[in-house]
Symmetry: C2
Subunit: 360 residues, 2 copies
């Protein structure tokens, strides 16, 4: 009997059970090839088909055209922090960044190693508890870089900034979880391990005209042109991770695409966010309500002891991954796409019950 | 009924069936956690245990001590081609390289983008058909870089060069397949997808004293110090691939370690190499016998039509992955660790039978 828990971890995170079942079923013999997908050549027609399908599904779900390349790279989103300025921040230009949390700050630090950076808006002084308004990039900036969802702080852009310079977004923790005008962006990158797959693969969606900017002098593997030209098959790709991404994208499509997913996610965030809105003296939100993330809802309890007890009791009841990041503390409920509404409702009921049993 | 073929592909390649079975069994619920290993946090005790075990097993199987760090990185060995000079080739120094094939040449090209390179030996003029002898790095070179096995050309170092400068080796296609004095090397790197796991993870084994050379000015993710300090957990690692690597290393240990594996591999290469040695007018070896790889045995048949027929007939008989690289043509038989002696013997019998049925 397979045991399954409700995984509210911040990532790597829950995957749809039906995706895991397909992967399990096919693990020794991928569709009659007599080989595991873990053993199959990335030059085989079977893998090319997986890769092509993952690319088309990503475009289709985002509602973007073939003027966007979809890449599947190794090295994590953290490597993108360096690849972005290596490819797009030439000498004499400035890279504009918005600092909304730990991950933005890391992106900024890496860009500063490679070129001139201007932080055009920041909520750092207020513990990253909100998303700045009226973000403006300086005229002639090489790009404006934002982090759409802040996994640690628990904030999320509700609307995307308008800008005349190329908009680049780290969408690691909310890609395909809400409707966005994806066509606004010049580059989107996302570690797969929250909404679209397992750890070990980073999706990069890049508008064709950006490729002309990538300098030939940089390392081949760090040049987006290399991977766009070869459809991520210049070198051996993280094939199994891409295969799981393909299965997850098929699952998203089957759910009804991003707008259907968004409807469920809106309910999930209302169920968990409702604890803060209705019992705010017990479940104390750590961010401004208008900036509250749908993906990672952060809160403190009246005491640290209660927080520890809630995490332990929840684990015993089959709800795991609720510990807040050490820099914020408290409780963090991550509600990525594969978390069901049922899971969120059960957790909310558990937390209300906990509040009654453990008054402050 | 699960169908399994004999996979002689050059990589991604066959994995031990018992490893795949464990992965399949654990795919929905990793050891009672209620989560798939694809969903589990890289900060969980379960993943830390996998990571630590993979590190210790690698050290144990190589016979190196704790003065070697074992890293598991994304980005493939191709990213190492740039990381090596970024970390170890300062201005004013020269990186010495041996050019023994396509992958060496790629490593050289990437190093030339970043610093001064000297090719100290090369078999390029003779179609990469041998491993040069008497390799010497210039005094004061930053390092000497070699490629221990050449997957495409089909050659392999039988003995490793002696040098006073740090010896760096791309061991992607023969790591843990033969006994080597691993303690001779300052850095060893290997894409996992041939002998130690699936695509999506690159092992880097690096001597502690090398870390002092890594400059802080380079991107954090491209600095070996980052990953050594954090045991490859600075960012989200390719967790599932590392898990499979751990299972494969356990399997290697269970077989009796590298010396036991070597004995089987020696028999496999004699079985397939014997076709060339005994029927060289039909199975024409493309490299000098003294440099012949145990891992990738390359040959031409009397005509291209016969080569095509052999590949097609073999596939129909359940032997796949035999097509030579387009730059060499012909037949390539890859005999990585997970290929059984039985598989090699059955293929040899098939090829002898093919020769009889299809005389030149």
């Amino acid at each position: 009997m397979v045991k399954r828990v409700f995984n509210f971890g911040p990532g790597p995170a829950a995957l749809p059970l039906e995706v895991l079942k397909v992967a399990q079923e096919e693990l020794l013999d991928y569709r009659g090839t007599g080989m595991s997908i873990l053993e199959i050549s990335h030059r085989s027609p079977e893998y090319e088909d997986i890769n092509n399908q993952a690319i088309s599904l990503m475009r289709e779900l985002m509602g973007v055209g073939e003027n966007y390349h979809v890449l599947f790279l190794g090295g994590g989103a953290s490597t993108q922090f360096s690849m972005i300025p290596m490819n797009f921040l030439p000498q004499g230009k400035v890279g504009a960044y918005v600092d909304t949390g730990t991950w933005s700050a890391k992106a900024i630090k890496e860009a500063e190693k490679l070129g001139k950076v201007e932080v055009v808006a920041s909520s750092k002084g207020d513990k990253y508890s909100y998303i700045p308004k009226d973000i403006k990039a300086p005229n002639g900036a090489a790009y404006l870089h934002i982090t759409s969802n802040n996994t640690i702080a628990g904030t999320q852009y509700q609307d995307m900034p308008d800008t005349d310079v190329p908009l680049i977004c780290d969408m690691s923790s909310d890609i395909l979880s809400r409707r966005r005008d994806f066509g606004k962006f010049s580059v989107i990158y996302a570690g797969a391990q929250k909404n679209i797959g397992p750890a070990g693969c980073t999706a990069v969606i890049i508008r064709d005209e950006m490729l002309a900017k990538c300098p030939d002098s940089i390392p081949t593997m760090l040049n987006y042109k290399t991977h766009a030209k070869e459809k991520s098959l210049y070198n051996t790709p993280p094939a199994f991770a891409v295969y799981i991404v393909k299965l997850v994208l098929e699952w998203v499509k089957k759910q009804g695409g991003v707008s259907a997913i968004e409807k469920v996610n809106a309910k999930k965030k209302d169920v968990i966010g409702g604890l803060i809105d209705q019992h705010g003296d017990y479940f104390k939100g750590t961010v401004q309500q208008a900036s509250r993330s749908w993906a990672n809802i952060t809160m403190r309890l009246p005491t640290e002891d209660l927080e520890k007890k809630l995490i332990a009791d929840a684990k015993a009841a089959g709800f795991i991954g609720l510990k807040g990041h050490r820099s914020v503390g408290g409780i963090r409920v991550s509600l990525y796409n594969a978390m069901t509404l049922e899971g969120a409702e059960k957790l909310a009921a558990f937390m209300l019950d906990f509040m009654k049993k453990n008054p402050k």
